[in-house]
């Protein structure tokens, strides 16, 4: 048994294609772990299967192969312990903001009175600064406010894990920024374990403790795990002033621009690396590899990655 809260073990997703054709393998040999209280982001190009992974973690979809283990148990289906914040806000348009949150709260606490449910829902609407708008219908709220309701709904059930599928990608930059701050401050209070999909490198650097880099499909996999080398106490405004900012950023951009494509279709996969993708720490002094406790990988097996990473951070 590992100490990780979430572990994905050899996940694969295949879709049957037309007659006589082999099934389409979106991803395979996908391994990763997320520890208690960790904030993990996954970055990859559109269509590589990120949403499929998140839905499998949520229990809304099943992988074709492999296991997902959360808190020592196989994921069999959706659970109130794993809240999902959907890309489209997925609010019920016939309910008010409060009604949407109340629906979640009353499902979590079936024995609560209406007043208790309301009070608890209001607490979480306050947390995302929606007090005053609680009686409005989603159609009367702005995009950012709707996403806030979605966040309040997810948080109100006090889940162990928060799963977010590109939660801010449909928002304008200003709104996105304030919602990112919101997520940071909420997380500082609740200490939830968070798994988030994004395609925004800066968002990942601001929010995540570690970033899973996913290759392009088909046969996508986790190629590398990047540790966030920025200080724990960071804010949107001073992020770019840190000396590690550009090395970290360039490392990820370089992956997305070049290596994600080169490594597509399972290319460059080393058998030992699949189970334990290399963990890297891009800093101003160069990119170093982290020897994970369970990783028995000799250093030279990731030399190629090292070289490229070094080149990027030197650039």
């Amino acid at each position: 048994m590992t100490k990780a809260l979430i572990s994905a073990e050899g996940l694969a997703k295949r879709f049957p294609q037309g007659q006589g054709q082999p099934p389409l393998t979106v991803f395979e040999n996908l391994w990763f772990e997320i520890a208690h209280g960790e904030f993990a982001c996954i970055i990859g190009h559109s269509g590589c299967g990120k949403s499929t992974i998140l839905n499998a973690l949520a229990g809304l979809d099943t992988a074709s192969e492999g296991n997902i283990i959360v808190g020592g148990k196989h994921v069999e289906g959706p659970s109130l312990d794993r809240a999902v914040i959907f890309q489209g806000n997925a609010l019920m348009p016939w309910l008010s903001a409060l009604g949407n949150v109340e629906l979640a709260v009353s499902s979590r606490h079936k024995d609560w009175s209406r007043a208790e449910v309301r009070e608890h829902a209001m607490k979480y609407l306050d947390l995302v600064h929606l007090n005053g708008s609680e009686l409005k219908k989603p159609s009367q709220l702005s995009g950012g406010m709707k996403q806030r309701v979605g966040i309040a709904r997810a948080l109100s059930i006090e889940p162990q894990i928060l799963l977010m599928d590109e939660p801010f990608s449909a928002l304008d930059a200003l709104t996105r920024g304030s919602l990112q701050d919101e997520v940071l401050s909420v997380r500082a209070k609740t200490k939830q374990t968070i798994f988030m999909i994004t395609h925004d490198v800066d968002e990942a650097m601001l929010l995540a403790d570690k970033i899973l880099l996913m290759t392009n499909g088909p046969k996508a996999r986790i190629a590398e795990i990047v540790e966030n080398t920025l200080p724990k106490e960071r804010s949107r405004t001073d992020l770019h002033k840190h000396p590690n900012y550009y090395p970290l950023r360039n490392h990820m951009i370089e992956f997305l621009v070049t290596r994600s494509r080169e490594l597509a279709g399972g290319a460059g996969a080393k058998p030992g690396e699949l189970r334990h993708p290399p963990v890297v720490r891009p800093t101003i002094g160069g990119t170093t590899h982290v020897e994970t406790a369970r990783s028995s990988q000799p250093a030279e097996s990731t030399a190629a990655t090292d070289l490229q990473a070094g080149r990027v951070s030197a650039a």
Partner: protein
């Protein structure tokens, strides 16, 4: 030039409506008033036809006569002087009662069945051929079968209302349920709402506008069909009243009844429109 406001448009529309009505009533009055002379008529024919021919009076009642008749009915809508002489209000109440009963039965069947069809692709396919065949059958075609099996004319009319109201509601419910957004169902799943709560607090409100569209179509059809059904089964109801007054050659009463049928139909439709509006949501 400024756009005319909605209220000024309403005022104009009302004025035009009143003008159209006035023109129609005037033309009706002119068309039915006695103007022709009878000199050239064969006296025997004139004798046969009575006042209609001899005084150049049309067989068609004029607006004034109909207006007087309406006033008469309005003064005493609920009198009851035997089988063939009941007030217009009583006859309408019979019809509305039958429509309500048949319609509510149809609601009770169509909505659960529509949920089943909408939620189960298997049932949807399995029941589709039956629905496709049953739907285009004129509801009145069921009448002989209903009379034969139920052996009660009133109940047969209710059955016909049931069968004609069923299809639009069934099809709309199934469609509304089947097209509930996947993301809402996913929310229900992640919140572990369970099947009963998902049906009641997610699928039902999501599909309600579509279901109510079906219900509105159904009430319209039911009100169309009840008149015909009552003409067939006889006894009571506004449909029977029309037919009976035709047999009495009381065209004034027929016209009055037609007007009443229209007004009640409009009221039913408006009622459903209100209900539909109350469950609709902006997305």
């Amino acid at each position: 030039m400024a756009q005319p406001s909605a209220s000024s448009l309403n005022i104009k529309a009302t004025i035009v409506s009143v003008l159209i009505l006035a023109t129609f009533l005037f033309a009706w009055h002119l068309g039915t008033a006695g103007v022709a002379t009878t000199q050239k008529l064969d006296p025997e024919y004139a004798k046969l036809m009575g006042a209609t021919a001899t005084q150049g009076k049309s067989a068609m009642p004029g607006p004034i006569e109909v207006g007087a008749k309406i006033w008469e009915h309005l003064k005493d809508p609920f009198y009851d002087r035997g089988t063939n002489d009941k007030g217009l209000g009583i006859q309408l109440a019979y019809s509305i009662g039958r429509v309500a009963l048949g319609y509510l039965l149809a609601v009770a069947v169509a909505i659960p069945l529509g949920f089943l069809i909408g939620m189960s692709p298997l049932m949807s396919r399995a029941l589709d051929p039956f629905i496709q065949v049953m739907k285009p059958i004129s509801p009145l075609a069921w009448m002989p079968l209903a009379l034969y099996t139920i052996k009660d004319s009133g109940m047969s009319a209710i059955f016909v209302i049931f069968i004609c109201s069923l299809w639009p509601m069934l099809i709309n419910t199934a469609f509304g349920v089947a097209s509930v957004r996947k993301e809402w169902l996913n929310v229900a799943k992640t919140l572990e709402l369970g099947p009963a709560r998902t049906a009641l607090s997610v699928i039902l409100p999501a599909a309600a506008p579509t279901i109510f569209t079906g219900m509105r179509i159904s009430i319209g059809i039911a009100w169309l069909v009840i008149v015909a059904a009552e003409m067939l089964v006889g006894g009571t109801g506004i449909g029977y009243f029309v037919w009976n007054e035709w047999n009495n050659l009381s065209i004034t009463n027929v016209i009055t009844a037609i007007l009443a049928i229209g007004l009640v139909g409009m009221a039913l439709d408006q009622l459903m429109a209100r209900l539909q509006k109350s469950v609709s949501y902006a997305d």
